[in-house]
């Protein structure tokens, strides 16, 4: 049986399976999202249970044939990212996005690196308003790697470069159109899109617009089912 040996991975979600086992959704560096059965992990004396926690860097081995593999071995791969409060809830949010949007066994190495970096940043205590901006950058990377990257350079119809103070409408899967009274899509300023492209978005207006934009982009991929973690964060605020 094919076996994969000690791969860097994070646990995204787990659910009980039979009496003492769990089904784990993993995010791995080389294989993307992988589902494995961890046999006997919910037994009282399971050595793996304290290891298999969310936000904990792991090295995992699994074998068998997909789509559901068997977990063989688990080791810790560094200290756990200890997320607290709103950062912990944000962690649930990004995990929910990944479980909902990633296909099994498509590799997303750059997204994995971004995920790991984000966990490190989230574990640095109270990061205040930076939190939202970190989430936006993660969402941007996620959309890009899923093949829904944003057009952050030109107006769609004319091909003219975006201007910071010009107003636009952004339509998912198409791009920015010059603003019109009757226009559809997310209304925003050029500065927001240029800031997303350069990775620097400091104005509160732009950050607010970026949030609306990302929400709309993700909604078109997520469909009608709402994100539960977003609702939980709203209740906590």
């Amino acid at each position: 049986m094919p076996r994969t040996s000690l791969q860097p991975a994070y646990l995204l979600h787990h659910r009980p399976y039979r009496e003492t086992s769990s089904i784990l959704e993993l995010f791995t560096a080389e294989y993307g999202r992988v589902a494995v059965v961890a046999k006997g992990v919910r037994r009282k004396k399971s050595r793996l249970q304290p290891l298999l926690q969310l936000y904990r860097p792991l090295l995992l081995s699994w074998r068998g044939r997909g789509p559901l593999y068997s977990l063989d071995q688990a080791e810790e791969n560094g200290a756990m990212h200890s997320l607290a409060g709103i950062s912990m809830m944000s962690g649930f949010y990004i995990n929910e996005l990944l479980v909902r949007l990633l296909h099994h066994e498509d590799a997303y190495p750059a997204l994995y690196a971004t995920y790991e970096l984000l966990l490190q940043q989230l574990s640095q205590g109270d990061i205040g308003a930076e939190l939202e901006w970190l989430l936006r950058q993660f969402e941007l990377r996620l959309l890009h790697d899923l093949g829904y990257g944003l057009n952050l350079e030109y107006e769609v119809e004319t091909g003219e470069p975006l201007q910071p103070e010009q107003r636009y409408h952004y339509l998912p899967e198409q791009g920015a159109f010059y603003w019109q009274e009757s226009g559809v899509g997310v209304p925003l300023h050029g500065a927001t899109l240029l800031g997303l492209a350069s990775g620097e978005l400091n104005e509160s207006r732009s950050r607010r617009e970026a949030k609306q934009l990302m929400r709309r982009m993700l909604a078109s991929l997520l469909g009608d089912k709402p994100l539960n973690s977003r609702e939980l964060i709203r209740q906590m605020m």
Binding site: Q53, M88, L232
Partner: protein, 198 residues
Amino acid sequence: MALSPLIRRLIEDLRCLPGVGPKSAQRMAFQLLERDRNGARRLADTLLQSAEKIGHCTQCRTLCETELCTICCDQRRDSRLICVVETPADVVALEQSSGYRGRYFVLMGHLSPLDGIGPNDIGLDLLAEQLKSDEVNEVILATNPTVEGEATAHFIHDMVQRLGITSSRIAFGVPLGSELEYTDSETLSRALQGRQPF
């Protein structure tokens, strides 16, 4: 040997119990049929009554067949202290081991956004109501030391704090009789962080 349909059904049904496979289910079935028919009748009767009558305590949500459970009814218990746990089994564990004399609140689970389990699914609306109306001055957060348990504790802590009530979290550390060498690093680091003057 071919078993009759009813015996087969009995064996099949016994397998809904945890830890019972086909072989143990068959042993149980023959034990009841060959040696303990009265026990079988009693068991059947108790199972039926339990399934029909046992619900949740209206105050702490633990399993019981009366409106209030025995702990909530007990006048000698300190009603200013509420210990929040995930399951009825946690109540039993705490009752057996500790000298705790307050009340409990049983969530019957923990927050799990990815499974769609939110605050109201674990009875936090009921808890908030009780905290507003009763004279509670401390809430002890005894959810499990998992990320989900931690998130649940956090959520309740925020809620409790807004109501001006103290909350505390149970301590984490190295299990008695174990060895540091074999303790996982996260438990050890929490144990160090939570060290106390000797």
